[in-house]
Symmetry: C2
Subunit: 324 residues, 2 copies
């Protein structure tokens, strides 16, 4: 049976270096790493170091419940959550709910009954009564009345910043467009920030919303284009980037030019690649910080360390694109 020492001898390095390579520390030089990996391969060594750091038991499985991993905002969030969990020796179980209450209930039941170590939940439905106090939960974007801490971006400030940036770009008749869920979610504060800032600037504004989920996207925009103030609107703050992109697409079909006729700001900042045109002006969510904060709070709760606040609102910033 090969041991760590033999690997270290063959590679001509110390035990600590072998351990760092196995545990994937960034502080190892690439040439050294190669030597160690070569020795591991030659000796066919199964690193028990790894096993010591991680044994897959229910107690180190964390479930991430989200609407859909296919959505770029959620896949970025999941990427950082997995990274942070891995650093701490936890593994991530992925549960896509499709946003359906019945599937969320189904997953909560499974997770409750099977005692995962904890749950990170992103849900916009009314499933309050199904939460079980036995398993630590951290919620993202959503408050439950029970003692579930919530991590979110600073949606309210984001709404105010978006309105102010529209104003700075010359907008005098702004509109907020979005969908509204039955239960309160932090994301609703985007609208509130928009309203308060518009009022502070002494502007007339429009709010146009329909219930989530939208049954017919096209009819949403047709309804919006049909409201009587519509021809006056010269700026749009959309509840998400996807919504902003869809608005731009539909507006163009109406002969409305962005940003000449209407300035547009989204929310999320999912456009980190060159495929997206036009590049949206947007309120960038601090996805990485949100992910790592959620994991840290969940592990705190698992370890029984008290959590100071109900809500952790991470600052956002405006990112200038080509639509304002």
């Amino acid at each position: 049976m090969t041991n760590l020492k033999q690997v270290a001898e063959l590679a001509g390095v110390g035990l600590g270096t072998v351990s760092r390579v196995i545990n994937n520390h960034v502080s190892v030089k690439p040439t050294t790493r190669e030597k160690v990996l070569e020795a591991i391969k030659q000796l066919n060594y199964v690193p028990n170091e790894v096993a010591r750091n991680f044994k897959m038991q229910k107690s180190n499985l964390i479930a991430l419940l989200l609407p859909s991993i296919w959505n770029p905002f959620f896949s970025e969030l999941a990427y950082y959550i997995e990274d942070e969990l891995d650093r701490e020796g936890y593994k991530l179980i992925l549960c896509n709910s499709g946003g359906k209450p019945s599937k969320e209930l189904y997953y909560f039941d499974i997770l409750n009954q099977n005692k995962v170590a904890g749950i990170l939940g992103i849900t916009y439905n009314d499933i309050e009564d199904s939460l079980n106090n036995d398993i630590p939960i951290i919620s993202i974007d959503r408050h439950f009345s029970k003692t579930v801490p919530c991590v979110t971006s600073d949606n309210y400030s984001g709404g105010r910043i978006a309105m102010r940036e529209l104003y700075n770009a010359g907008v005098r008749k702004p509109a907020f467009i979005g969908v509204v869920t039955k239960v309160f979610s932090e994301t609703m504060l985007r609208k509130q920030g928009f309203i308060d800032e518009a009022a502070a600037l002494g502007l007339d504004y429009v709010v146009y919303e329909e219930p989530d989920p939208l049954m017919d996207e096209l009819s949403f925009f047709n309804n919006f284009f049909a409201i009587k103030e519509h021809h006056e609107i010269d700026g749009v703050f959309a509840i998400t980037d996807m919504f902003a992109a869809r608005y731009i697409e539909q507006a163009q079909k109406q002969g409305i030019s962005v940003p000449d006729d209407v300035k547009v700001i989204g929310y999320d900042g999912i456009q980190d690649n060159t495929l997206f045109h036009p590049i949206l002006s947007t309120i960038r969510q601090p996805v990485e910080t949100m992910a790592r904060t959620s994991v840290r709070l969940l592990l705190q709760r698992i370890e029984g360390v008290p959590i100071e606040h109900d809500t952790y609102r991470i600052p956002v910033e405006f990112r200038q694109g080509k639509t304002t």
Copy 2:
């Protein structure tokens, strides 16, 4: 203790209907579903049906090892894999390797030692010797010489189709651009299909590749723009959509107009939303079928049912965009 029968009585439906709602079958009418969920809520029923279908044990945990869930191709794949596993009572553990061989080895060690039921792996590195025959593995896009079945899109036909579509769009001096990995991967057949079709059409063609991972993307394109045949090239087949999008961005900076000067076709078909402009012409990968096939084969292997083929190549199709 509330039981299923009481829920069925209160909701005024049969036992089977309650079970279908709990198990999230699509065949239940929305109004009926609501009635059942309401009854479940009123009675505070914890569905043991769910527990019976799923008990979280090592034997129903499947690991998905992929470079990054943040990549839209992989997040779409993960979405369907999770959906298919959930139907069969399995849960998905998500492992992002970052494409690094050391992290892939680390995950394989963890998974080997902890005996998950199976592994779905997407890896483009040389980690052959670390595979363990004890745990069923299905590979996506990559062949291992050991008996690991591989599920992939029909990359070779995709390459031929792409070349033919470029030709139909008027291209007479085509180029293939991409990166090349050290170990053989099915994705290399995209280039081979391109070459064979160009030859069959009697065309002169260019292949420009650099080793994966690219250290400097900008220098890749500058090198490509500097090759002597470059001014003759009137069509580009890029190894992925992301690569095609980057080419378009860099080409525009050189004053090259797409599709007027150069027609472009990508591979993947990740652009299923309105944020992307220009809409790429592309070879669409059958992501959903690839995902469900991989899961089905993995479960077959777990159950000891022999798998007929080494490789499952799922047909692709051309999707017309605005770049040809």
